[in-house]
Amino acid sequence: MLKKIAIALVALFSCFLGLQAQEANSVSQPQVHEIDTVQYLENVVVYGRKPYAEVIPAQTLAGKKLEGLNSHSIADAIRYFSGVQVKDYGGVGGIKTIDIRSMGTNHLGVFYDGIQLGNAQNGQIDLGKFSLDNIEEISLYNGQKSEIFQPARDFGSAGSVYIKTRRPKFAGNKNDNFNVTMRTGSFGLANPSVRWEHRFSRTLTMSLSAEYTYATGQYHFRYRKKFSDGTIAWDTTAVRKNGDVQAFRAEGAIFGTIEDGKWNAKFYYYDSERGIPGAIVNNVWMNSQRQWDRNFFAQGGWQKHLSDRFEMMLNAKYACDFMHYNNPDTTLMLVDNKFWQDEIYVSSANKYTIMPDWDVNLSVDYKWNYLNSTLINFSYPQRHTTLVALATARTWHRFKCQASLLYTMINDRYKTVYQGETLAHHSKWMHKFTPAVFMNYQPIARYDFYLRAFYKRIFRMPTFNDLFYTDMGNANLRPEYANQFDFGFWYQRLREDGFFTGLKFTADAYYNTITDKIIAVPSGRGQYRWTMMNIGKVRIIGVDVSARATMHMARDFNVDINLSYTYQKARDYSDPEDTGYGGTYKGQIAYIPWHSGSVVGRATWRDLDVNYSFIYVGERYSTSCNERAYHQQPWYTHDLSASYTFRMGSTKLKLSAEVNNLFNQYYDVIVNYPMPGRNYKLIVKFDF
């Protein structure tokens, strides 16, 4: 027994050492053991058939594991996935965007309860704005969710994050669940939230939740430099100002089941005001810009087996977003801009089962976007997007394969003002076809060992800002393409008893290219004038590795350890002339570390739950000119949390305490945007 344990640990340990030796890297950590029984039953009972297993499983954080992480926002949680970099401008209210496998933020699709969140203005979804309060599961897919029965839009990103809000679940005859949570801690945080779930009948449930966040956003930060002999040249500590945030979120959903199907409808409302703390530079320690956001969407879905072989899914969404940016500082350019965005989206997915192991799907989506603004000479752009996806999934014994072809048709309409005259324009109709192929093979039936591979070609459209931003946009921009090749494997071993109850190992190697990358380039003298051009070219070679072990230490005492590691060589091939000292050719692109990784450990003993997490991001450069002036030090944080649940019948009271950045490391993710040092949080959660 002990020998077996030792061998297994050595294996685990050596993979970790391998990580240090910079070989390996990772992708997925689906819920191997913690299959959510309620949901599993739901699937099985309601549909009466086994869901089609994903060809390439996602990396997923869900349930207690997600709850245990010291994360305030979805962006904080996603940091634990391999192959992902978070751009974090610091603090509770700072922008946090995700870059997957170095392809750039705009290539990532973020789906909230099944429907993509859009931002036609700048293409970026600030995941810092989405709290974890009402979230049940976060999954990350490279390529696309390898399931064919989905809207056409789900085929349209180079990588996707699926955020699933909590589904109401009722124990026994209980028809109402209530949850009251209060979080407080550093940065003057006050974060109460409430949730009510109600069961009208066996086939109809609903949930309502609301949350308020307030934080002063103040924290100490420290910058210092030393002489080469180690003595201090300068050392300064200051307080981060104008990082306050105030946000209100309300969300409601209704879930119904029908014969051979289900439906849901939901709304989401978010209203916030925040300070934009800005960059810290010599002689400037504070900024005063502010931003207001109001986001609303309502969406619904319906899904039914119309016959044994034919299944249909309909989705629709309306979203409207408001953003107001204000600079009141009279020493700088006074700015007071407002932007309004609308999106209307409808989708139909139709799956037909030709044979028990052969499915085809046809999805058709239509999307309309509109941007309005108070800017003078604004172009009021509209975009009509039609997406058609044809996909098929086939299983031959232990080999599974999926292929999809996405057709995208886009037309933009906009206005220009030239010498007092307003002219209406139509962009050329754009037609693009982009394919994807996913494969999975299990060589030996007895072992949970799977080989997998995928290829995907996709593009991202230039955003409205890229195309039409007053004086800066370039209406001639072409789409930016991402090509991905991935090959990997995963292996798992589960056991009922013994010390190791589960072991899992995944590894993926990938090669991505980005062509026609849209880059801001100077358009004249002075730094206020830039324009966008399709001049970038990036090649990315990467390895993602992850390992997971669950251990049964003693009675009621379990330990779960996750390791993930990413190696990325993401090089700039834009300008072959630009070589030598200070050149960018073949330089590692901005903010992509060669090495990054995380370790998450969780120990549970009865109702006590202790979590430790460690994140490491290696050295990076802030541009693809890899010289000392742009060098960014590695950073790593250790977070610790503990929680205890008191139970009285069906009533639960959970107390948690968190310490983040335990060793008080002062670091920047984005240059001159200091991150907080050690900070604390207390959470009281009351369920009844």
Partner: protein, 394 residues
């Protein structure tokens, strides 16, 4: 059981090893790079101020030493290692007056004052959003975008705009002693016959109803009051006065249908004497020659125009050379940005800002327009000042 704990501890220890990866940030000491043969004239060298892209706090100072033929990078941090957050954010102008050198650091809201030879810090003058500097009789005059805020109109026609100012600074005490309100977003200034001429841009109003400025403000130094505003063209930037009292003023245009232009204004006859259909983003006056460079993006044609590298004779007011780079090097220059001409040898220095986020290039051309050498400078190399005892260091 015990053994497994032991392994877990080992794993944790391995993690701790990762902690050793982070190093202390070390200050930049200067890098000295041999460039060419030494040259001995009364011009000892020149400083090149690299702007540094906004928000990155990357302004830096380089020095070229003629006596050694060596290029020295980061001389400011080398001389002043203890200054918190280094030189600052966006170096916009540089000038020497007496024994001191002044660097206008736009987004750090200050003028940094150092010894012109040792580059040791003497002090700083806090002027918000400062742009350009000139000196006259013991005072430094600094243009700044910061002046009073004006509210005009009512209701839907309400327009808010900011006027700019010229700050007067005592060069011995380094204190601001006075300021004079001028037009909107004033840029370069020059001084002739006891008068300051400032080019007003109105650059902040590009998207506002009020539109660009189109005037040069004239300040009488004796009273330090704005005397008049001379209409020239929209969105002015450069403003240099030659020895005959001709003021050379450049307009940026509106980036749409109106291109950048160059204008000659006679300060004695008080009238515009000539306008030049020449694209200009930066210029340099040396003797009777005005060197003009440009490369512009046009949002109408959605492309870059060809680069301009022209010389104008300030005596005859004629373009005498439409292409002072003769060896084809101009095709390598992505974003011509800074220009200077050695007053003795007439060698021409042009900087290339490239994409603004990496290190740019400094090119040296002989009088014949053939490239002598080029070297990487800092991030957005832009503003020059020559050092020497008997030269006009401004």
């Amino acid at each position: 059981m015990k053994k497994s704990f032991y392994y877990i501890i080992l794993i944790t220890a391995t993690l701790a090893l990762l902690n050793s990866c982070r190093e202390d940030e070390v200050i930049y000491i200067k890098e000295v790079v041999p460039v060419t043969q030494p040259e001995y004239t009364s011009v000892e060298g020149f400083y090149l101020l690299n702007e540094g892209v906004m928000q990155h706090d990357l302004a830096s100072l380089d020095y070229y030493n003629y006596a050694t033929g060596e290029y020295e990078r980061d001389v400011y941090t080398d001389a002043n290692p203890t200054v918190v957050m280094e030189l600052g954010d966006v170096g916009n102008d540089i000038g020497i007056y007496g024994s001191k050198m002044y660097m206008v650091i736009n987004c750090s809201d200050k003028v940094e004052v150092v010894d012109k030879r040792t580059v040791k810090r003497i002090g700083q003058i806090d002027i918000p959003n400062c742009r350009y500097i000139k000196f006259y009789q013991g005072y430094a005059y600094v243009s700044s975008y910061v002046g009073p805020v004006v509210l005009e109109g009512e209701g839907n026609d309400e327009d808010v705009y900011q006027l700019g100012a010229v700050f007067k600074v005592d060069t011995t005490t380094l204190q601001v002693v006075d300021k004079c309100v001028v037009g909107r977003q004033p840029d370069e200034l020059d001084i002739v016959d006891g008068k300051i001429y400032v080019a007003n841009s109105g650059g902040y109003s590009q998207g506002a109803m009020i539109g660009y400025e189109n005037t040069v403000s004239v300040i009488d130094i004796a009273t330090f009051k704005e005397e008049e505003r001379i209409p020239i063209a929209i969105n002015l930037l450069g403003c240099k006065c030659d020895r005959r009292g001709i003021l050379w003023v450049s307009s940026r245009g509106d980036y749409h249908g109106t291109p950048s232009m160059l204008y000659a204004y006679d300060t004695q006859k008080r009238r515009l004497v000539k306008s030049f259909d020449v694209r200009v983003s930066n210029m340099c006056l040396e003797g009777d020659s005005l060197y003009v460079i440009s490369k512009e993006w046009s949002s109408l044609s959605q492309g870059y125009a060809n680069g301009t590298y022209a010389i104008i004779n300030t005596k005859t007011l004629e373009v005498v050379n439409e292409q002072f780079i003769t060896d084809g090097t101009d095709s390598r220059i992505v974003q011509p940005y800074g220009i200077a001409v050695n007053p003795i040898t007439k060698d021409i220095y042009v900087t290339d800002g490239l994409n603004f986020v990496q290190f740019g290039f400094l090119y040296c051309f002989g009088q014949d327009g053939v490239m002598k050498w080029r070297i990487r400078a800092g991030n957005i190399p832009a503003h020059f000042v020559f050092l020497g005892d008997n030269i006009n260091e401004q």
